[in-house]
């Protein structure tokens, strides 16, 4: 079965086609939502941002030149929206949420047992990473973005993308070590 490409959908959206907008939304909203949620760490905020992100896509569709993949362009818009929202939020609120998230995991009785499970511990440590490190890990592993695409989304040189990813992974190892799991690296 053949599907209309994202690029074609965006060109139709530029012409005011609402159905094309619905198709593009159906195709990408879950991944964009998860990307935003991992950055803002608040479901209500992430859900609000999703409609803002796709509204921007509606408004800017005519400017999309197809030089990069549509998903890369959409994630760039999502990132900008998420960072703007984070800047608007008071610092205390952020700290509370971060603490809650970590406590939630730590207080869960199953978590203590699961700590022995390396996979669960790894996921817990992934959630503890800084925003910059979470972002790059997600873009590479979950959103399957190449070095060039990550550089475009985050707005940093390709060499920095590689070193940031390296340090994110190194930090992950440090967190794991604190939980008693030594990966023998770095």
């Amino acid at each position: 079965m053949q599907t209309t490409s994202d690029e074609v959908l965006i060109s139709r959206i530029a012409g005011g086609d609402r159905l094309a907008m619905q198709v593009l939304y159906a195709r990408h909203h879950v991944r964009v939502y998860r990307f935003v949620l991992r950055l803002v760490r608040n479901e209500a905020t992430a859900e609000d941002l999703i409609s803002e992100v796709f509204l921007d896509i509606w408004r800017q569709a005519g400017k999309f030149e197809g030089r990069s993949a549509a998903s890369t362009w959409m994630l760039s818009i999502a990132r900008f929206k998420a960072l703007s929202a984070l800047r608007r939020r008071p610092e205390e609120e952020l700290d509370e949420e971060t603490a809650e998230q970590i406590e939630d995991h730590a207080d869960d009785p199953e978590t203590a047992l699961a700590k022995k499970d390396k996979g669960s511990a790894l996921r817990q440590c992934l959630a503890k990473l800084s925003a910059d490190h979470r972002e790059i890990i997600d873009l590479v592993y979950y959103h399957e973005k190449s070095v060039e695409e990550v550089a475009e989304i985050v707005g940093i040189p390709e060499a920095t993308v590689k070193t940031r990813m390296f340090y994110a992974r190194k930090k992950l190892s440090e967190f794991l070590k604190e939980q008693g799991i030594d990966r023998g690296w770095p």
Binding site: Q2, T4, S5, E7, V8, S11, R12, A14, G15, G16, R18, M21, Q22, Y25, H29, V30, Y33, R34, L37, R38, E43, A46, E47, D48, I50, S51, F54, L55, W58, R59, G62, G66, K118, G119, L122, R123, L126, A127, I137, D138, V140, Y141, Y142, E144, K145, S146, V147, E149, K162, T163, M165, F166, R169, L172, R183, G184, W185
Partner: protein, 224 residues
């Protein structure tokens, strides 16, 4: 400690690429370099296993994050409705071309490609014919030839069945003495010449009915 001793700029460079190798987003050339390095360096291969664990758990973590409620879509379209009415801008040439190709099925594309090759061959033959003719007469002649006019004859519109191969279509056209006059349109329709002269409507209906029975035909209709 042994591993530390073996650290080289080359290993460092390859190691930085491991996450992208695991995600399958490296260029073929870089992927080849990484594969070769993994095959000769057991320590790098061990670290690659760690990367693969991270990849799997990152996917797991993200997949448990859920999805936005339907409210987000409602909110989006409420905002779109509140936007100033947008003038239906005509698509630029690039978009129109990509839209056209996107609308074709792979089989239609293959058939269109075949038709294009045929058209080029006919044109080449025609030019060669004109040149030979010129050589013979040694003077200038117009490039018209005593052939059937493009709009002369009786036609039908055909859309070939999606499962029909190019060979099937060729066999069908030859066995029924048909020729493609134009097409395909964006909807995959071809204008096919059924007879070189005009024929009675009843006769055309009989021919069309017979052609419709062939499995190669997905849709057929008479046309002027």
């Amino acid at each position: 400690m042994n591993a530390m001793k073996q650290e080289t700029p080359e290993r460092q460079e390859i190691e930085e690429l491991l996450p992208w190798h695991a995600a399958g987003t490296l260029s073929r050339r870089d992927a080849q370099r990484v594969e070769e390095a993994l095959a000769r360096d057991p320590e790098l291969a061990r670290r690659y296993a760690l990367v693969r664990d991270e990849l799997g758990e990152t996917i797991h973590l993200n997949e448990t994050l859920g999805a936005p409620s339907a409210r987000a879509l409602e909110k989006l379209f409420a905002k779109i409705d509140a936007e100033p009415a947008r003038r239906q801008a005509p698509l630029n040439l690039g978009s129109r071309i990509s839209e056209f190709f996107a609308s074709l099925t792979p089989r239609t594309l293959a058939l269109a490609g075949g038709a294009a090759v045929l058209a080029i061959l006919v044109q080449a033959g025609f030019i060669a014919g004109v040149m030979l003719n010129e050589t013979k007469t040694g003077g200038y002649q117009t490039a018209s030839a005593p052939t059937t006019a493009a709009d002369a004859g009786t036609f039908a519109l055909i859309r070939f069945a999606p499962q029909a191969s190019a060979d099937d279509v060729t066999r069908f056209l030859e066995s029924n003495k048909l020729s493609i006059a134009s097409g395909p349109t964006a909807g995959g329709l071809y204008k096919v010449r059924v007879a070189v002269t005009g024929i009675p409507k009843a006769e055309l209906a009989r021919i069309v009915k017979k052609l419709q029975e062939d499995k190669v035909v997905g849709f057929i209709a008479t046309t002027d």
